[in-house]
């Protein structure tokens, strides 16, 4: 290690011409782009744009066909009320899907938590507030089980949650003995359980606390995902877990946290579910998992992880809400809703694939 080696540090023969060449390296000057490439670039950097455009377009189209009956404060807020639960469960689903996972057990966790909230109050006589806490604890526990199986046992999320979906749902039926707690009973003895179903009016607009909860939850998660290190790490994990680990992200604990958080959010959805239907029913919310995945996919969040905005999920849920109400007001067969939503799902995934090509 002597300084005499300095003489050796000479560029190689063929590199001598470099002194005459341009000195800038790896320039980022963008080449000329077509309008289509510009659009692709724009959609790549603003993932919630497509669902927002579709949402606005569907509002305009249904408004033009149906008129004032659709474009009223009442109808608009009715849509919000109808999507509140899907929106909340969809928020949980968004977190999991951003990590390149999937959670098929969200609906089961939601129902199980709501049943725990109800049964703990009415079977064991716990104060409703404590029962609600127990419901959240059960949601968190379910999420923890998913999280450990996915991140520590390294099992595929689809398989894990396919299993726990059945397990949580069966637990729900076994524990509740298939018993429904009636709305009047809850209203009389434990109104706290129906809190998120309570409404207030601003003019003709009718809001439930469930709607407020959904909006606040999505806003909070949007902030966390985009403006905190935790959110960036979540995207990095979904993007490329190996790279995330090598560049200093604690992948395993993060994944467990994400599934626990998903479970907690599902418990919140379970609480809102009681408000929405009034009663505590072990058979409610059967399709929440499929509906939440639909909202996420239509919302432009990539099932491959790492890309997409939670706002897109909210727009996705609203699109479904607008279609259902719009088509109902027109008076068509409700199957048309499913048909159109099905087409939208496929379209959304096709657009996602196209946008991802910007990388190539």
């Amino acid at each position: 290690m002597s300084e005499t080696s300095a003489g050796l540090h000479r560029p190689q023969e063929f590199e001598s011409v470099l002194s005459g060449s341009e000195t800038s390296v790896a320039n980022f000057e963008p080449e000329r782009r077509t309008a289509l490439q510009h659009a692709q670039q724009f959609l790549h950097s603003s993932p919630a744009a497509v669902p927002l455009i579709v949402l606005v377009a569907s509002l305009v189209i249904f408004g033009a066909i149906i008129g004032g009956r659709f474009f009223s404060a009442f109808s608009m807020t009715l849509i919000l009320q109808q999507v509140a639960i899907v929106g909340i469960v969809g928020a949980a689903q968004t977190l999991v899907i951003l990590t390149a996972g999937i959670d098929l057990s969200v609906g089961a966790i939601m129902v199980l938590s709501s049943v725990v909230m109800g049964q703990f109050t009415f079977r064991y006589g716990l104060p409703p507030a404590l029962s609600v806490l127990c419901g959240f604890a059960v949601g968190a526990l379910c999420g923890y089980i998913n999280g450990v199986l996915v991140s520590v046992m390294k099992l595929p999320p689809f398989i894990v949650t396919l299993g726990t979906w059945q397990i949580f749902l069966a637990t729900n039926f076994l524990y509740s003995a298939n018993e429904t707690i009636r709305s009047q009973e809850i209203g009389a003895q434990a109104p706290l359980l129906q809190f998120f179903g309570e409404t207030f009016k601003i003019g003709n607009a009718v809001f439930t606390y469930g709607v407020i909860a959904m909006v606040l939850l999505v806003a909070l998660l949007w902030y966390v995902l985009n403006h905190t290190a935790w959110g960036r790490h979540l995207h990095a994990i979904g993007d490329d877990p190996e790279a995330a680990k090598l560049s200093g992200v604690r992948v395993r604990p993060m994944l467990v946290t994400v599934y626990v958080l998903s479970g907690l959010i599902c418990a919140l959805a379970g609480w809102c579910l009681i408000g929405r239907i009034g009663s505590v029913s072990p058979t409610a919310g059967q399709f929440a998992n499929i509906e939440s995945i639909t909202a996420v996919v239509i919302g432009g969040i990539s099932l491959f992880g790492g890309r997409g905005s939670i706002l897109g999920m909210l727009f996705g849920a609203l699109i479904v809400g607008v279609f259902s109400l719009g088509l109902r007001l027109i008076g068509t067969d409700p199957q048309w809703t499913y048909l159109l939503i099905g087409a939208l799902i496929i379209l959304a995934v096709a657009i996602d694939q196209w946008i991802r090509k910007v990388a190539a």
């Binding site: 190689q12 403006h227 490329d240 090598l246 200093g248 910007v358």
Partner: protein, 267 residues
């Protein structure tokens, strides 16, 4: 062909003894030793699959060796994650670059060491200071002369392979405080860009940091290295002085065509 002996008293900054790493029936590291001295450029060469990447992954906390001991300075270290090695000042450019494609250049450079806004926003709301990170990322990339950035907020996946490699190299060079390790940093680079990275390696050395350079490019290795660690079949075969050995002799050792003289076996 002789090895380089360090004057007594100079201790290695980073060293490893008897590292073993097995993947099922494959032994990637078979009692490998390693020594990096202060302020030097150490090249590591070896055939494909010789275990070079496995060696630096063990040293940088990316994998945990089954056996063996690693020392940083006077202390025995047991890194359980790349984060811990980074906190100890060891910065690594991995062969696969370890960048998150969908995140921006700035987000990637600061992944795992984000800057938060000052005051209540950062303290309580954990808000990232995007503009500070973008400013520093741009400053670091330009200061290193590595590239002129058009849009520091653009996703890494929209960059070419060479540009990505540039970002990874710049990240390591900018944040390394004790050791910088580069696993084939010029593999995807053009002639001009490779030259910049070689200059960058010299710059880092001038800052007093030792560098580990893994490369298959013999002219580059012989140009910049102070010592060459030859890796073969999962272990260090010998360490040679590039001023006293020819490229073809080094290649002969690396491929097993010749055996090292006994005096070169220990470094």
């Amino acid at each position: 062909m002789s090895q380089i002996l360090h004057e007594t008293g100079v201790k290695p900054l980073l060293s490893a003894r008897g590292l073993v790493k097995r993947y099922g029936r494959v032994t990637a590291l078979d009692h490998a030793d390693f020594d990096l001295y202060p302020g030097e450029i150490l090249a590591v060469i070896g055939d494909n699959g010789a275990g070079k990447s496995s060696l630096i992954k063990a040293i940088s906390g990316a994998t945990i060796p089954d056996e063996g001991e690693i020392r940083l300075g006077d202390q025995v270290v047991n890194f359980k994650s790349p984060m811990e090695a980074r906190d100890a000042g060891i910065e690594t450019v991995y062969q696969n670059l370890a960048l998150s494609p969908a995140l921006s250049i700035a987000d990637n450079m600061f992944l795992g060491r984000e800057i938060r806004k000052p005051g209540v926003l950062g303290q309580w709301f954990r808000m990232l200071d995007r503009s500070a990170m973008e400013r520093q990322a741009r400053a670091k990339l330009t200061e290193l002369g590595l590239m002129t950035i058009q849009n520091i907020g653009q996703a890494v996946e929209t960059l070419s392979g060479g540009q990505r490699q540039g970002v990874a190299v710049a990240r390591a060079a900018a944040f390394g405080s004790r050791v910088v390790i580069m696993d084939e940093p010029t593999a995807a680079l053009g002639v001009k860009e490779s030259r910049r990275v070689l200059e960058l390696i010299q710059d880092v050395k001038k800052r007093g940091l030792p560098i580990v350079l893994i490369s298959h490019n013999m002219p580059h290795v012989f140009e910049v290295a102070d010592r060459i660690h030859i890796h073969r079949l999962g272990r260090r075969l010998c360490v040679v002085d590039p001023k006293q050995i020819s490229m073809s002799d080094a290649v002969a050792l690396m491929t097993g065509a010749t055996q090292p003289p006994t005096d070169a076996l220990a470094a």
